[in-house]
């Protein structure tokens, strides 16, 4: 929540959340006897505009509606359990976490003015849904803030597909001339989706290879990326490749801007890439090969080893797609990370609905929000 939401008494304005979301949420629960928070969450995420933290907030609100808790303590406990349940189902819980923690903090710090607990619950649910509705509009606010930083004829580099970056670029396109480079962002290849969307509205756009970022950096005016989460150190967690881009941008003296809605601010503090909650020992691990036979030197037969060799890890098998292109197998891809961590000293500014912040200010904002 923005600080204002936390400080002011609850507004008694009727919240008109898009009807379909409310229906979806209640469908999920009525279809089963018991409330399944994960199903609710997934159903909410079906909406293109929804991001994981907001979906989490809405799911937790729905959980509150269904809950039988009689006291605040029980309610908070149920919310924690619900959050844990959501986290269990996904391998990348970071942005989800951000949303859950924000909502639980809001519930805990909410002034208990109502007379009955049921009233309080209803109020909390309403606030939750109202927040989610407002939060959709945050992207517009950010796009507006970004507009002044985009000059006419700007060449922008972006990474993968991010809804908030899309909103900013489309907004800028209405009044300025821009051209965009977007990285392919393997393995999911969402950069191609960005290319489609931008080309459809008439923005000149070219997809560059992930390995060509350094090649293209000198042609670029600034780098613009979205975010999965912005962490306490002021650093950024985003699709893998963002850190690389930030380092190259710093070396080429180009500004690196991150766009993040305030519900993505998270109290995590990773000390390094390997301190992220998404990191596990299997990522970047070496395969365990059987000990090499002492006598024979390995036969050098071009790039791919003969498939007939037994006892070798299957990941060495190459699945040929075309004659000149090869791609990684699913197992190879599984050893690679999904997200990476960009250090705060590489980020120039973070644009969010609470304003344009330097990375140092992120921590101060988080302390003000969550401390105590």
């Amino acid at each position: 929540m923005c600080i204002e939401c936390l400080k002011l008494p609850p507004l008694h304005r009727h919240c008109d959340l898009p009807a379909k979301i409310v229906i979806m949420a209640s469908e999920a629960s009525s279809s089963k006897g018991e409330f399944d928070i994960y199903q609710t969450y997934r159903k909410i995420l079906d909406d293109e505009e929804m991001s994981p933290p907001l979906a989490a907030i809405l799911s937790l609100s729905q959980l509150m509606v269904e809950s039988n808790a009689g006291t605040m303590f029980e309610l908070v406990k149920e919310l924690h359990d619900g959050a844990e349940e959501l986290k269990r189902h996904t391998t990348n819980p970071i942005s989800l976490n951000a949303g859950c923690e924000l909502f639980i903090a809001f519930v805990t710090l909410f002034p208990h003015e109502s007379d009955s607990f049921a009233e309080l619950k209803t109020e909390l649910v309403k606030q939750g849904q109202k927040y989610a509705k407002e939060a959709i509009s945050y992207r517009n606010k950010i796009a507006e803030l970004m507009l002044d930083f985009i000059k006419d004829d700007s060449v922008i580099l972006t990474h993968s597909y991010s809804r908030v970056v899309m909103r900013a670029l489309l907004h800028a396109h209405k009044t300025k001339r821009i051209s965009v480079y977007v990285t392919e962002a393997r393995p999911r290849g969402l950069g191609v989706k960005t290319h489609e969307v931008l080309t459809a509205v008439g923005i000149p756009c070219t997809v560059v290879l992930d390995s060509a970022v350094a090649y293209v950096m000198d042609k670029v005016d600034f780098v613009l990326v979205g975010s999965e989460a912005v962490v306490e150190s002021g650093g950024l967690i985003n699709a893998v490749g963002s850190n690389q881009m930030a380092i190259i941008a710093k070396a080429a003296h180009k500004p690196f801007y991150a766009l993040a809605e305030s519900y993505k601010f998270h109290r995590l503090f990773p000390l390094s890439q390997y301190d992220l909650p998404t990191h596990n020992p299997s990522i970047l691990s070496f395969p365990s090969l059987p000990p090499r036979p002492f006598v024979t030197p390995p036969t050098t037969s071009g790039v791919s080893p003969p498939i007939a060799k037994s006892g070798i890890d299957e990941s060495l098998n190459v699945t040929p797609t075309s004659s000149s292109e090869r791609s990684m197998s699913a197992e190879m891809t599984a050893k690679n990370p999904d997200v990476d961590y960009t250090r705060p000293d590489l980020i120039s500014l973070v644009f969010s609905d609470v304003g344009i912040l330097t990375p140092e200010a992120i921590s101060q904002y988080l302390v003000a929000m969550f401390a105590g």
């Binding site: 306490e232 150190s233 002021g234 109290r267 503090f269 000390l271 390094s272 301190d275 705060p344 000293d345 140092e360 200010a361 921590s363 101060q364 302390v367 003000a368 969550f370 401390a371 105590g372």
Partner: protein
């Protein structure tokens, strides 16, 4: 002049007595000592006359520069034809402790010497050497006397330990205190405590922790209810002191232990420097939780505090390695995490800690090893500190810490100041904020550039 009473204290430079012909500890040859003694007598007379005029000049708190100034003038007046000999100027002859202080100060920082020397070493003259515990001016409580002795002999070291010891001593002082008639406790107690505090400061410069704690104590005293009966007021104050120790140190350490412990993963190689009480707790706590890690303890002279940490960790069953600071470059590639403590943190994010910490942090940064500083919030100082130089403390000369191997004769290895040699052992240094990855406090993990948000976070809590 009447010899001021002197306590039979052994300052670090060896026992001092009033023999004018005794060789100064600098090891001057005895040929010159007779002539020097004569010169000394004359100088003493001059100084006495000057001192009598200067009513009760600063005895203990005098920065060495101040003390040094009157002496060169006296010397210059006395014997104009001693340009080069003046730096062999008298070692403490100890009739007046003032001269003792002045001379000691001169030993530390050359004031009148040849112009070449003067330029080079006057810049260090602002470093206060630990002065010998002087005569108690006024009515100093025996607990404070004892504490001052312990401080000056480095029996109690470490920011937390000194603060707790100081506060405990003040509790005794407060309990023994009796409000004089026609006075209120809240007003008089502070004036009563001030000389006690000065006495401690004279023994060893105050740490930031002691400063913050004493400031809080003064606030509590001034806020103490006038209508309360005296014993109740005193008990309330002692209770407040206990609460301060409990909340800001003991419990804070527990929170830090847990938070920092979560950053330790199985298989980590953790490097720590010298001995921090908080880091010790973190490591022992993580080990007790069953995490598997090994520790490298880096140590350095003169204090060699790491040895104590090493023995504590090793007896707990943690796998430890012990190296001296120069060997850091060889092992830094093996390290996954650096955990250090702090004497104080400043609002620009700089960490003031045992000399050598800055080197460890810079080396770690170069090798992309995260540096985590464990520090309670009561060590926060609102000042901005940019270098290790403007504020520091020198270790006393001589072998106070017994840091040499016992197989070698101590005398052969101990260096002492002489005509062409000055020993400087600063005890603290400053780690710049860009070398630090995170600061773990009891209000959360904070990036170094945002240390200024600590008062905000505290305001929410307290």
């Amino acid at each position: 002049m009447a010899p001021a009473p002197s306590l039979p204290i052994h300052p670090p430079n060896g026992p001092v007595n009033g023999d004018a012909s005794k060789q100064p500890p600098q090891g001057r040859s005895s040929q010159k000592s007779m002539t020097k003694a004569e010169r000394r007598e004359l100088q003493e007379k001059q100084r006495a006359a000057k001192a009598a005029a200067k009513a009760g000049g600063p005895v203990n708190g005098a920065p060495s520069k101040q003390a040094a100034k009157p002496t060169p003038q006296a010397t210059a007046a006395a014997t104009p034809k001693r340009p080069t000999k003046s730096n062999e100027a008298p070692a403490p002859t100890a009739s007046a402790l003032r001269t003792q202080t002045a001379a000691r100060a001169r030993a530390a920082s050359v004031s009148v010497p040849t112009p070449a020397n003067a330029r080079g070493l006057r810049i260090f003259s602002h470093f206060g050497l630990p002065k010998p515990v002087s005569v108690a001016k006024g009515d100093i409580h025996p607990t404070i006397l004892r504490l001052a002795l312990q401080f000056s002999e480095f029996k109690i070291t470490g920011a937390n330990a000194r603060c707790i010891a100081t506060l405990s001593a003040f509790k005794t002082v407060i309990q023994d205190y009796a409000t004089p008639p026609n006075n209120t406790l809240s007003r008089h107690l502070m004036t009563y405590l001030s000389p006690q505090i000065s006495h401690l400061v004279a023994a060893r410069p105050m740490s930031v922790t002691m400063g913050n704690a004493i400031r809080q104590l003064k606030l509590e005293i001034s806020g103490s209810d006038i209508d309360l009966p005296e014993q109740d007021a005193k008990d309330a104050l002692c209770q407040k002191i206990d609460n301060y120790i409990r909340d800001r140190i003991i419990i804070a350490d527990q929170v830090i232990e847990e938070t920092a412990g979560n950053k330790i993963k199985d298989g980590d190689v953790i490097l720590t420097y010298a001995r921090s009480s908080v880091v010790q707790k973190v490591l022992l706590g993580a080990h007790a939780e069953g995490r598997q890690f090994s520790v490298i303890v880096v140590d350095s002279r003169p204090m060699l505090e790491g040895k104590r940490l090493l023995s504590v960790l090793a007896s707990a069953g943690i796998q430890c390695t012990y190296i001296l600071l120069p060997a850091l470059g060889a092992i830094i590639t093996e390290v996954t995490l650096v955990l250090v403590g702090a004497h104080s943190i400043h609002s620009n994010g700089a960490v003031y800690s045992r000399a050598g910490t800055a080197l460890v942090a810079m080396m770690a940064k170069l090798h992309s090893v995260p540096v985590v500083v464990c520090c309670e919030t009561y060590k926060y100082s609102e000042t901005v500190q940019l270098d290790s130089f403007t504020k520091n403390e020198l270790a006393p000369q001589g072998d106070l810490f017994s840091s040499f191997p016992s197989v070698k004769a101590r005398d052969s290895l101990t260096l002492e100041n002489d005509e062409h040699l000055e020993i400087l052992n600063p005890l603290y240094d400053l780690t710049p904020p860009n070398c630090i990855t995170a600061v773990v406090t009891e209000v959360g993990v904070i990036p170094p550039n945002s240390i200024g948000s600590i008062p905000v976070a505290l305001g929410r809590l307290l």
